[in-house]
Amino acid sequence: MILIEHLSKYYGKVKAVDDISFKVKKGELFAFLGVNGAGKSTTIGVISASHKKDTGKVFVGGIDIDANTEAIKRDIGVVFQNSVLDKALSVKANLENRAALYGIGGAAFKKRLNELIALLDFADILNRPVGKLSGGQRRRIDIARALIHSPKLLILDEPTTGLDPQTRTMLWEVIERLRKETDMTVLLTTHYMEEAANADNVVIIDGGKIIAEGTPLELKNKYTGDFISLYNVSESEVELLGKPYEKIADGYKICVKDTNEATNLIIGYPQIFRDYEIIKGRMDDVFLSVTGKRLGENK
C-alpha cells in the first residue's frame, strides 16, 4: 500500500526526515513510533501529499506521489492529533463540508453519512454544534470525517491521546472492524505502547532516521529480554539463580536474555519454580532500548 524509498525532507538546514525507506502492506496496521520532533508528522505529511519531499520516492497504492497527487489524496483519510472540526458548525455540516471536498454530495453523501452513523453511533449528536461535544464524541466525528470518502489508507496521528479508556476501546473496535470488513490499511502514530503492540509491523524513528523495524515480537526478541515473575520464594532462593532481579509485590522479577534462557533456568531449578510466569519485554522497553528515551519525552 505504501512504499517509501530514501525519503528525505529538510527544513532549512534541519533534516526532519533523513533517508528513510519502508513499506506498508495492504490491510496492515502499521505503527510509526518516535518522540516529538522525530520526523513522524513530516513523513505523514509527505505520504498524504500535504508536504513536499526533497528527495526519494513515495508510492501509495502503487501510484507515484510525484505523478498523481490527486489520486493519492482520494485514497487517504487522516485523523490529526488535534481535532480540526469547525466548532461553530454542527456535526452534519462538518461532514457535509468534508464530503464536498471529495465531490460527494446529495444522495451519495446521505448514504455514506448513514453508514458512518451506524459504524460510529453518533445519530443523537448529528445536529449538535461540535463545540458542545465531549472529547470522545469529537474524536468519533474526527474519524467519521476522515472516513467520509471511504479511503483505502487511514492515517491516525496519535488518535487516542487524551481520550478516556472507554472511548479508546470503542475507537479501536471500530478500526479493527473496518480493517476486517474493508481490508483498509492503517498507519498509526501513538504514545500508547499497548496500541503499537497490536500492530502488524512497527517502525521506530529517531532524529529523522529509522532505527528499528519489524513485528512487535521481532522487536521484543531483538531489543528486550524476557522477565520471569517468581512467587512464593525467598530472596536467598532467587540469588541462587545468579541473574539480576528486583523485588515486586508478592515476589521477585528476574531478567533473562530470552525465552530459551528462562526455560533452562526452570529445568535447572525446578524446586524454585513453583509459582511463576514468563513475560516478554514490552514495547516500552523496546522503545527505551533503541532510542534511550521514553515516548512522551523529548530528550
Partner: protein
C-alpha cells in the same frame, strides 16, 4: 463546483457564527456612529453653517441634514467595506492557526478552489453587511433629508460592491503572509483603528496637512471614499446650488472631499472608478500569482 460552493458556504457561515470576528469587523463603523452622535454630526453641521453664514446666506435645515447625513453615510460605507472584508478574510489565517487548512489540503482540493472559497465568502459577507448598512443609511436619509436620485442610489450600490471587491482583494494579499494568532490580532486592530483616518472617514482629508494629503492621494482608498461621497452628496449640493453661489458650493465640496486632487489636479469620477477597478484587478492578479508560487501542496 460542489467543492467551491461548499467552501464558500462554510467560510461565510463561520464568519457570521464567530461573534468575535463579526463584531470586530463592525468596530470602526460603530466608532464612527458614536463619534457622529456625540459630536461629529454637530461639527459637520457647524462647518457647513459657518461657511454659508459667513457669506451672509442661510441654508434650509433639511438640506443641511441631507448634506451631513450624506457625509456620514459615505464615511460609514467607506470604512465598513474595508474593515468587514479584513475581519471576514481573517478566517483564512485562523484556518492556518487551527490546523483546519492542513486538514483541507489533505483532500484533493486544488489551491485555486481554496483561494476562491475564501475570496468569494469574504466578498459575500462584506457585501451583505455593507448593503444592510447602506439600506439603513438610506432610511436614515429619507427621514432626515432625502435628496438622492435613483441613479445616485444605483451608483452607491455599485460603489459599495466595488469597494467590497477592493477590501477583499487587499485583505487577501495582506492575509496571505499571516500565520499566527498574534498577527491576526495586530492586523485586525491596525486596520480597524487606522483605516477610518487614512481614508478620510473620521475627518476629511482636506483638513490634513499638505504633505499628508499628498501621501494619501496615492492611496486608492481615498478615491473610493470620494466616490461614495460624490454619490451621497451630489444631488444635495445640486439643490444647494440653486440658492447658494457656485464658489461657495465649490468650497464646501473641497472641504468634505467631494472633490479630490492629485497634485492640484482634480480627479474626475471616471478616473476614480478607473483607479478603483484597476487596483482591484492588480491586487487580484497579485493574489493569484502568490497562490501559484506557494510551496506546499
Amino acid at each position: 463546483m460542489i467543492t467551491v460552493k461548499s467552501l464558500i458556504k462554510r467560510n461565510t457561515v463561520l464568519f457570521f457564527k464567530d461573534k468575535g470576528m463579526f463584531f470586530t469587523s463592525l468596530i470602526t463603523p460603530l466608532i464612527l456612529l458614536v463619534l457622529y452622535t456625540t459630536f461629529l454630526g454637530n461639527v459637520y453641521e457647524d462647518s457647513f453653517k459657518s461657511v454659508i453664514e459667513a457669506a451672509g446666506l442661510t441654508i434650509d435645515e433639511k438640506l443641511l441634514a441631507g448634506c451631513v447625513g450624506g457625509q456620514l453615510l459615505s464615511s460609514l460605507l467607506a470604512v465598513s467595506c474595508i474593515t468587514v472584508a479584513f475581519c471576514s478574510n481573517l478566517l483564512s489565517v485562523q484556518d492556518k492557526v487551527s490546523g483546519a487548512r492542513k486538514d483541507i489540503v489533505v483532500a484533493p482540493v486544488k489551491g485555486w478552489k481554496l483561494s476562491v472559497g475564501y475570496y468569494v465568502a469574504t466578498l459575500i459577507s462584506t457585501v451583505i453587511i455593507c448593503y444592510v448598512a447602506l439600506f439603513a443609511g438610506l432610511i436614515y436619509l429619507s427621514v432626515t433629508g432625502w435628496f438622492l436620485t435613483l441613479s445616485d442610489v444605483l451608483l452607491l450600490i455599485l460603489d459599495v460592491f466595488l469597494l467590497s471587491l477592493f477590501g477583499t482583494a487587499l485583505s487577501s494579499v495582506v492575509n496571505f503572509f499571516l500565520s499566527t494568532q498574534g498577527q491576526i490580532s495586530a492586523v485586525g486592530s491596525i486596520v480597524s483603528s487606522c483605516y477610518g483616518f487614512i481614508c478620510g472617514a473620521y475627518m476629511p482629508i482636506s483638513t490634513f496637512s499638505q504633505g499628508l494629503q499628498r501621501v494619501l492621494s496615492f492611496f486608492p482608498g481615498t478615491y473610493a471614499t470620494a466616490l461614495l461621497r460624490y454619490h451621497t452628496l451630489r444631488s444635495a449640493f445640486e439643490k444647494a446650488g440653486e440658492a447658494l453661489p457656485k464658489e461657495l458650493i465649490d468650497g464646501l465640496k473641497d472641504s468634505v472631499d467631494y472633490n479630490v486632487y492629485f497634485f492640484e489636479k482634480q480627479v474626475s469620477v471616471s478616473v476614480m472608478y478607473a483607479i478603483l477597478i484597476g487596483t482591484v484587478v492588480l491586487l487580484m492578479s497579485v493574489y493569484i500569482l502568490m497562490n501559484k508560487g506557494k510551496k506546499t501542496a
